[in-house]
Each structure stands twice: as C-alpha cells, then as structure tokens.
C-alpha cells in the first residue's frame, strides 16, 4: 500500500478518536436529558482558552492546566443545565435548541471580548513517531490514546456503576425512574457534568493540535453534530463508530483532494446517509 495513503488512513483513525469525545458527550446529554446542547463546541472552545491561558499566560505546567480544564468545563456543563436547560425542560424542543444556540453566541462573544479574535497557539509539539514506513504526529497519537482512555472510562462508568446503569435506563424510560429511588434531576446533573468533562477533555486534546480563537468551535462543531446524527442521536456506540468513519472520510478524502474538498465529501456522505438511513447508520 502507498505509504502516504496508509498515513492518511492512520491519521483518519487518529482524527476519529478526537471526534469521538465530543460525540460521546453530546450523545450522553441528549440521551439522558433529551436536550441538544447546540453550544457544545463552544464549551470545548472555552476549555481550550483555559488551557492556553493557564499554560502560556499564567505559566502553569501543561498537566496542571489540563487537570484544571476538565473540572472547570464540567462545572460549566452543570451551570448550563441549571441556568438554561432546567428552566426549559417542559418547554418545546425548539425553545431548548434556541436557548442553547443563544449560549453559543454568548460564549463566542465573551471569548472575543476577553481574548479578541487573535489565533492563540499553545506552542507545544511532540516529535513525530516513525511506525514502519509512515510517520505519525506524536501529538496526534497522544491525543488519540487519551481520547480512547476517556471513552473507556465513560464506558466503564456507564457499564459498572449504579449511577451509570441508571443513566442508561433513564434514556429509555424517565417516568418510572422515581419508582427505583432514582431522582431524575440528579441524574440530569450528573450527565451534564460528565458531558462537560468530556468537552473539557476534548479541549485538552484539541488545543495541542489547533490554534484557539473565538470561532474555533465552527471547525469541529458542525461535524460533531453530523456524526451524532449519523450514528443515531443518543446512541453512544453508534456515535463512537461514526466518529471513526468520519475521521477516515475526511483524512482519506484530503489525501485524494485537498482538505476543504474532503469536508465537502464528508457532508455529501452525511446527506446521503440521511436519505438512506435517517434513523442513523448504526441504529438497529
């Protein structure tokens, strides 16, 4: 196989791993709370600024900046739920979408106000790693491994803990949950914090690969939503697999054409999926 094509395939897998985190976070929140956080990519953007600020401006070690970003965005997720989503739980879905969409603009505006529209770079790069004939960016590989670890922790939480099992149950039938002693509002809070934490982790992995600016969310937000819908909204495993599929399409598409072209291909593929399997690729 052409080593450059192999490299593109490998990069696609690595990219898929990074797409997977926000996809899992969005699906988790949607599955449990039944609300779409339209501002999800902007939570990631805030996290990227936190890491950038703490590391380059406040001079904190990178690990400490990462360790702060995660809980900070988890708290942001909690606040988003308490202040915006919870008051609208009984409202029509369109109101909820518009409200979280409003938060998207608020966060973009606030970031512009505080940090201006400049592109900010973390300036961290790990040396490339040679795997046989191909080179892989060390940063991307590290981000990929961290993303898989994050996904594994989420999986174990959902699979083995009481709260995680209740989270999977509530996605199917919220009305009977109180009969098992489960307070749905507490579960909503936990899912929102976990969704935020996943955005925080995604921020750590993205800020080492992308410059941060107030509109950086636009570069991965739309594709994240597309992947969620393609995998079946609320379907964690489907979203996870679709993330890798999309990563491959973007990366291999970029190998045959250019990167902008590859996004066009990806969006066309998405539209095609919506015609053929509107319920999602991996929905049984």
């Amino acid at each position: 196989m052409d080593p450059f094509l192999l490299e593109a395939v490998l990069n696609g897998v690595l990219l898929g791993g990074v797409f997977a985190l926000p996809v899992l976070g969005l699906n988790l929140v949607f599955g449990v709370v039944d609300v779409i956080w339209l501002c999800y990519a902007e939570l990631v953007m805030v996290g990227m600024y936190i890491v950038w600020f703490l590391h380059t401006q406040a001079g904190w070690p990178l690990a400490l900046a990462f360790a702060t970003c995660l809980p900070a965005i988890a708290v942001l997720g909690l606040l988003l739920h308490l202040l915006v989503v919870r008051p609208l739980l009984a409202a029509p879905p369109i109101n909820q979408v518009l409200a979280t969409g409003g938060v998207l603009f608020v966060l973009q505006g606030a970031a512009t106000l505080v940090f201006s529209t400049d592109f900010r770079s973390l300036g961290v790069e790990m040396p490339p790693i040679e795997l046989g004939e191909v080179f892989v960016s060390g940063t991307k590989l590290a981000a990929f491994v961290a993303a898989l670890l994050g996904a594994a922790v989420l999986w174990a939480f959902l699979k083995f803990t009481y709260v995680g099992t209740a989270i999977r149950a509530i996605a199917r039938d919220r009305e009977v949950m109180p009969l098992m002693g489960v307070d749905p509002h507490r579960i909503y809070l936990i899912a929102s914090a976990a969704g935020g934490a996943l955005a925080g982790l995604a921020a750590c992995l993205l800020v080492v690969q992308l410059d941060v600016h107030p509109f950086v969310g636009l570069s991965f937000g739309p594709i994240t939503f597309m992947i969620c819908v393609m995998g079946g909204l609320g379907n964690m495993l489907g979203g996870f697999l679709a993330a890798f599929l999309m990563g491959l399409i973007v990366s291999v598409g970029g190998f045959y054409g250019d990167t902008d072209m590859s996004y066009v291909v990806a969006f066309l593929f998405f539209i095609l999926v919506m015609f053929i399997r509107p319920q999602g690729l991996f929905t049984r």
């Binding site: 009481y162 099992t165 009969l179 002693g181």
Partner: protein
C-alpha cells in the same frame, strides 16, 4: 398511632390536569396483609397506585405510611421508606440485561450493599431469571418480563409491594405462576397491595379487597365475603368465568 408499616389513604382526590380520576378514596393496608383492588377499566386503579408511589400528587386527602405523612415526600424517596411499585405493563428497561434491571432496582443506598444477597434471593424465587441473567430484558417472554419486574421491585428490600395488573396479557398457566409467586412473597412477610382485572384469581390470594368504580370505593370486605356477594359475582366473577365459555352456553 397506626402500626409500623400501615398504609393509610383517606379522602384521596386525584387526577390529571382538569380531569379527576379519584373521588375521596379511603383505603387501609395493615402490615403483613395482602389487599386487592379490583374494578373495571378506567376505574382509577392505576391512578391509585400512582398516588401511593408519589408519581402523581393527591389534590386532597391524606396519605400515610407507617404513620408518616407522604404529602411532601418526593417520589424517589419512597423506595427508601419501603414502598416498591411494579408498574402497569412492567416497564422494564428493554435494552438492559436482566441483571442490570435488578441493579437499577437496587439503586438506593441501603440496597446497594445487599445487592448480591437480594439478587440471589430473586434468582431463587425465579430460577428462569437466573438462566437469563445476561439476556436483554426486552427479548424475554411476557411472563419472564413480569417476573423480572417483580424481582426488580424486590431489590430495594421493600416493606410493601404495589402490583399493577401483574397477570395482564399472560397465558393462563403463567398467570397461575404469577399468583403463586405473590403467595410466596406474602409468606415472607411482605405487605402486598395488588390491582387486578383477574378478580376470581386475585380473591384467592388476598385477605381483603376493594372494588373501585369510577374513582370511588363501591365495596370492600374480606375476599371470601366479596366472592360470595351476588352483585360482585354478577359484575366481575361471572364475567371473568364466562370469558372461557362459548356464548351459546351462557345463561341470559
């Protein structure tokens, strides 16, 4: 003061929005008793259980369990007090395995520590569930699902079990198994309040029963007395029996 685990409803009014379904229901279940609630479709039987387990609030009247007023207790804290409710149509989590369904049933703090012990007890009550512990609940037969729903409710270690039409939609043989099970649960000292359409069967299991009609208690009494009451026989028992007899053989 009423006994440790007495369930006491007096003058309960409840409904959905503007629609009123219960009109001043009085009901009492003593600890260790098995009590039935029977009545036609739409009488308010499910609504009554939903009021007891806090899923809907009474608009008037008092609801007490073990002497404590439940008016201000949120629904999710009632399992902690010892109330478990097997809802109408079972409402299992179909995408979760049998064992995971039991795990959700053991969600409350006091139950988590005793998960294994209670799960093994449930498996002993329903050996079928043990065989199918890793099967998705939604893929089991109706009877197995009902067993799983009852098992899930037992996992919280309740003092009173509310059962909403456990025999609905099951084949006669399986219905028999469900009622045998209710008998066994009783013998273990659990208090049972059971709603049923299957009047003939339920009167053989419970000590007392209430007849609910359009949201009001139309009759109440010991099972034997109700089973012998001509009016009850005509409205409920006759109907239940005649369903199995070709119409040409039926009297009148």
């Amino acid at each position: 003061m009423s006994g440790v685990g007495t369930l006491e409803l007096s003058g309960i009014h409840a409904g959905y929005g503007d629609f009123q379904a219960l009109f001043g229901v009085d009901l009492r279940v003593e600890p260790g008793e098995a009590v039935g609630v029977v009545g036609p479709n739409g009488a308010g039987k499910t609504t009554l259980l939903r009021v007891i387990s806090g899923l809907i609030r009474a608009s008037a009247g008092t609801l007490r369990f073990g002497g404590a007023d439940l008016a201000a207790v949120p629904a999710h804290e009632l399992p902690v007090l010892g109330i478990a409710h097997v809802p109408e149509n079972r409402r299992l989590f179909p995408q979760l395995t049998v064992e995971e369904n039991l795990k959700v049933g053991a969600y409350i703090k006091s139950a988590r520590a005793r998960f294994q012990e209670r799960r093994d007890h449930v498996f002993e009550l329903f050996p079928r569930l043990k065989q199918r512990r890793h099967q998705l609940a939604g893929t089991m037969s109706g009877g197995e699902q009902q067993m799983c729903a009852i098992g899930r409710a037992l996992m919280s270690g309740p003092r009173i079990l509310l059962l909403d039409e456990p025999s609905a939609g099951l084949a006669p043989l399986v219905v028999q198994q469900v009622f045998d099970l209710v008998r066994r649960i009783r013998q273990e000292g659990l208090t049972v309040l059971i709603v049923e359409q299957n009047v003939a069967q339920v009167l053989r299991v419970v000590d007392r029963a209430y007849v609910l009609e359009t949201g009001r208690v139309a009759a109440e009494g010991a099972s034997a007395a109700l089973a012998a009451d001509p009016a009850i026989r005509r409205s409920y028992l006759g109907g239940a029996l005649s369903a199995w007899i070709p119409s040409c053989w039926r009297p009148c």
